[in-house]
Symmetry: C2
Subunit: 387 residues, 2 copies
Amino acid sequence: MQIHSELKERRDKIRNLMVQKSIDAALITCNVNMIYTCGRVISGYLYLPVRGNGILFIKRPNNITGEQVVSIRKPEQIPALLQERGVAIPETLMLEGDELPYTEYCRLAKVFESSTCVNGTPLIRTARAIKTPIEIRMFEKAAAAHIRAYSQIPSVYRDGMTDLEFSIEIERLMRLEGCLGIFRVFGQSMEIFMGSVLTGSNAEAPSPYDFALGGNGLDPTLPGGANGNFLRSGQSVMVDIGGNFNGYMCDMSRVYSIDKLSDEALRAHQVCLEIQNEVAVLAKPGTLCEDLYNKAIEIVTREGFADKFMGTRQQAGFIGHGIGLQINEAPVLAPRVKQILEPGMVFALEPKIIIPEIGPVGIENSWVVTQEGVRKLTDCPEEIIEL
Amino acid sequence: MQIHSELKERRDKIRNLMVQKSIDAALITCNVNMIYTCGRVISGYLYLPVRGNGILFIKRPNNITGEQVVSIRKPEQIPALLQERGVAIPETLMLEGDELPYTEYCRLAKVFESSTCVNGTPLIRTARAIKTPIEIRMFEKAAAAHIRAYSQIPSVYRDGMTDLEFSIEIERLMRLEGCLGIFRVFGQSMEIFMGSVLTGSNAEAPSPYDFALGGNGLDPTLPGGANGNFLRSGQSVMVDIGGNFNGYMCDMSRVYSIDKLSDEALRAHQVCLEIQNEVAVLAKPGTLCEDLYNKAIEIVTREGFADKFMGTRQQAGFIGHGIGLQINEAPVLAPRVKQILEPGMVFALEPKIIIPEIGPVGIENSWVVTQEGVRKLTDCPEEIIEL
């Protein structure tokens, strides 16, 4: 496997952070980190020393070869294979402690029992938070496909549909534009099928997850999103389907209405657009994440919608989140988050208000932090579209 | 939350195994185990002592109440809340060691630092392997919906389609019949969108995963399944889309053809049906899993298809697998597996042969082990259907 310059750049970002922490090597195996460092999913392990070439130990598939590729059956073979190649066993080894199951971490720590093993997940996530130009280009491609799919949404609406039927037709549009469908989330506990379509009172149903909004879903085994209610006149419907077209989770929500919405709902939507626009003016390299959150709260409180912002009966405690190979990367736009924006960060900003009995209004776009400020990746009409 | 008799029965199965291992209590938090013991996904922890009532500590959602329900912000609150209720801190506590991320496991072990923490995942999976009558009923309902969706597959085929376009229409049929879409797999490394549709030479592409067949997929970030090739005359197409309609992962594959297949492909399909039928005759309470696998190998070898069985360039080392809330539960029908079948086990049996250039043939059904033998849950036509 040829390690082209893009993968080298990503690996070097990880290595530079390893130097700062006096970590000698990383053993990477979780899918998103394999995608990040190797460009694809492989069942195996990338051994990444702080200096020298990475070595890819592969269990499966059996058709990848290369100078730095070694076929293995199990990780216990790795130390001897390293020594055969003259690679020293590391004093400090970084494993994916927030991602690997406990028993797998312990197994790898035993394989490297003479090494001190440390949790490398936060470090890798720090590296992944600043996207390379090629990663930003992949987001731009995903955003273009996401926009193409959403632009067809009005064409699949039929009177008398349920939220679920509407969701299914939108899922199909997304897939036809190339959406891979899979929705990757950091952490083992949050699950969602392609995204959510929310209308009416279902939007108020509190979620077990840390997503922006809830919904009852179809079944208690997968709460969240559409619950099979009919789309009714005077209600809004928010479409928030994940835009994973190439591994990168582009994130965008748009609001539709069945006939006209109440003046309150229309005004709430404008408040969300105002929040988005004010936050976008504020957002630039050096801005504190908490300042963006506080600006949103200031506006929504002034406008009288604080008790309906990001939910009613249960409110999400953020207005945006980093995106990348997973939907919830750094940074988080939330209270008390002192992290600053840096060029190359990509995040979703999603001010949303729920109007009881009517449904959600608001906006979500994906943004990239540039040298000067932020640029909208999902640039397409933001007004409520009457179906 | 009322704990009805079904959930009590499931919890008691876990407790009976805990007694045998001298484990005093379990702390359960992973989604599938919460579904199993609480009937739904909850962000929180079920504290399940070997004697006495379980207590559900809930972070989210905020609308579940009950005598045995306690609202918490973080797991560090649990020991004091147990003591308030007069519940003794356990000497031995079972955590989900194969499922929890390393750092989460360590955090919980620290919360219960006076307890000896052990990995409870294998024990819970043992309990889950034997389904209750109600779980089998849920499988029957899922199978009926799965069959309804598959019966409509010929109606969505159009000449000139790609495997991806065909897959998308089948995904839609499944969703319209109520499929939840999400595909739950045990272990952090195997990922798949709703299932796979494989045709022609793409079926030979080796997978990084331990699924029965591979396929290149659309993108290196999600290998497996359809790759966008056209469905061509003389080729087979195998549909293997997961049947999660209520949490339980019903599993079924059927083969279609574009015009007629070669005699070799047709014969290979019959060999797979013969394997299925012979294995089903052999399978009953007390049968060793390896004996079922060996029977399949005996037949496929005799018939001259051993080098194309379960893949060509890379072959899967099993012919079936337990199913339940995840697609890969106990038992596994594989060599050297000494586990015996027991009444209440549910498994998928999937003898498949790949004919190079043509595609996969064979069959997959979901089966339940009864007192006398096995019963097919996904009972519907098994011959190749010409599109």
